[in-house]
Amino acid sequence: MSAANWRGAMNVQTPRPVASGRPPAGGTPAPRPRRFTNPIRPRHILVLAFLLAYPWFAPPFFTFQIGAQALALGLIALSLTFLAGAGGMISLAQMTVAGLTGYMVAIFGTAATDGVTLGWPWWLAVLIGIAVGVAAATFIGWLSVRTEGIYTIMITLAIGVAFYYLALQNYAVFNGFQGVQKVFPPTLAGVYWRAPTPFYYLTLGCALAGYLFVVYLLRTPFGIALQGIRDNPRRMHALGFNVTAHRVAAYSVAGVIAAVGGVLFTWYNGLVTPGSVGTGWLINILVIAVLGGLRHPVGAFLGAIVFVLLQNFAIDVIDRERFNLVIGVVFLVIVLFSRDGLLGWWAALSARMSTHRGESPWTAARKRSYARSSPSASSPS
C-alpha cells in the first residue's frame, strides 16, 4: 500500500483541496477573509459556560475523578489526534512521552520516594520534564518518520514497550516496579492545587489552551502544509516542502501537548509507575482518540469523557474486573460502524437532520463539518 493510499485512508472523506498557505509569488496576495478563529456559535458559549460552572454543581468526585481526569487524558489524546488527524501519523508512543515527563517531574521535584528524587523547585522540575518529554518526542518522531502507515504504529508500539520494560527494570533512575509515589502539585498563592476544584480549573485551563493552540495551528502555514503532506507527500515534496522536517516538527509539537498532559495526569494520579506507561495505557490513548474521532481536536476530549465515564460506571453494570471487555467492545463497535468515531456519528446525525436545498444531506453535513474543522476547505486557493 502506497503512502498516498494510507494517508488517503486516514483522511476519511474525499481529499480536500490543499491550500498552499503561502501567498502566490510575484503578485499581490489574494484577499483572504479575515477569519482567524472559527465563528463563535451559541453552542461554543454554552459548552464553555458549562465547563466553567461545572465544579459549582458537581460533587467533588465528579469534579476530580471525572472532570479533571477526562481533561488530562484528553490533552494527551489531543496530541495523538493532532498527529493522526493532521499529519496522518499514528503514534502509540504518546503515553510514553507523557509518562517520561511525569517521571522527570517526579525525579527532579519532590516525592515521597527516598534516594530517587532531587527535590528541586516544582517549576524547574516541570520545565525540565517538558523539555525532556519534547526531546524524547522529537527523537521518536525522527525514528518513526522513516516509516509509513502500519510500520509507524508498530515501531512506536515497540518504542513504548521498550520504555515500559526499561522503567520496570531500572532501579537507579526509575525506581523499578514501584515507580515514584506522592508526586503532588505545589501549594501556590495559598491554594492547594490538588484540591478538586483548583485542580479542575488547572486542567481546564491547560486543556483549553491546548485545544485552541491546535485549532490555531491547523490554520497556520505549518498546519496547512502538514495536512498537505498527509494527503500527498510526493506533491508537497515537489512543491519544495521538506516533508521529513514537517513530520518531525509535528511530533515535537505533539510532544509539547503530551508532556503537559503527562504532568497533569501524574499530578492527578499522585504517582507514576511503569504501569502508567505499559501497553494498556499506550493502547488506551489510541482508543480515546479514535473513540472521539480524528477529524477535529474536540474528538480527543469527547473520547476521554466517554472513556472515563465507562471506566467509572461500566463496572457497576457488569463487573469491576471487566472494564477492558466493556471498553474493547465499545471500541470495536465504534470502529466497525462509524467512519470517524463519535464525530462521524455526529456528522451522520446532523446530515439526517438537515435539509439543504438541492444538496444531498451527506454533502451538506460534510460541508458544514469542513467549515468547522478545516481551514483548507473554507478558503481554497
Binding site: I90, A158, I159, L166, Q169
Partner: protein, 315 residues
Amino acid sequence: MTRFWRGFWTLLIGIPIVALAAWGLQDNARLFVITFLNGLTLASLYFIVASGFTLVFGLMRNVNLAHGSLYLLGGYLGFYTAQFTGSWLFALAAGFAAAAVVGLAMQVSIFRFMPGQDLRQTLVTIGLSIVIADLLMWAIGAQVHQMSPPAALDGPLRGLPVIRAYSTYRLTLLPIGIAIGVALWLFLNRTRIGMMIRAGVDDRAMLAAAGVNVNLVFATTFAIGAGLAGFGGVIGAVELSMVPGEDTRLLLASLVVVIVGGMGSVVGAAVGAAILGLAETYGLAYAPTYSVVFTFVILVLVLAFRPRGILGRPA
C-alpha cells in the same frame, strides 16, 4: 550499497561481536554456550509465532495485531487438551486448530470487508485483542499455567561437550523451528497453492480472472498464519508459561522480529528471530538490567540504516 561499504559495515558490526564472543568463551565457556543455546531455542519459538505474522502481513497486507491473543488462546487450549488427553501431539494439533479457526472467522467476518484499509484493520484487531485477552482472563483466570513437556522429551540430555547437560525439550525446539521454516518456504515457493498466494498478492484481480477462488486462497493463508500462532502457543506453554500479558509480549516480539528481519519474508523472520532471541538471552545473562535496551538499540540501528528491515523489499 557498494561492495566496499558492505564490507565496511560487516567489519564494523562483526569485529566487536566476534571479540565479545571470544571474551565470553574464554571467560566462562559453559555459560556462553548455554546462553547461545537458550537464545537459539527462544529464537525458534519467536520464529514460529512471527512467521505466521509475516505470512499474513507480508503476503496479504492484513495487519493482525490480535496475533498475540491467538498465541495465548492456542497455549491455553493446548494446556487443557494435554491435561485431558495426556498427549502433547494432540495439544499441538488442538492449539493450531483453535487459533486457525478463530483466525479464519476473523478473516471471513472482518478482513474481507475492509481490503486495503490498513488503519481500520489495525484498530479492529487492537479492539479484538483487548476483548479476547479479557475473555480469556475471565474464563481461565490470571494464574500461571505451565505445561510439562512430553515424557519422551522430559529431563536433561546428558553427555554433551562443554555444557555437560541441556534440556532435551528445548533442544528439540531447534529442529522444529527449522522444519517449520523449510516447510513454509517450500509451501510458498514450490507448491501450486503457494504460487497462487504469491500471484494473488501481486495482482488479485488477474488471479481471479484466471479462474482461482481468491477468497479461498487468502482464507487458507490466514488460517495457516493464525494457526502458527496457536502452535507457537502450545510450544511456549512448556518453554515459558501461559499468563495474561504473554500475548502482548509475543506480539511485541513478532513485531520486532518482522521489523528487523523485513516484512513478508520467511527468511527475514528467521534472521530477525535469531537476532532478537540471542540479544535477549545474552542481555539477560550478561547485563540483566539493560537486556531490553539491547533489543531497542538493535531496532534503532536497523531502522536507521535499513528502514525496511534487513531482508525487506519495498512494498
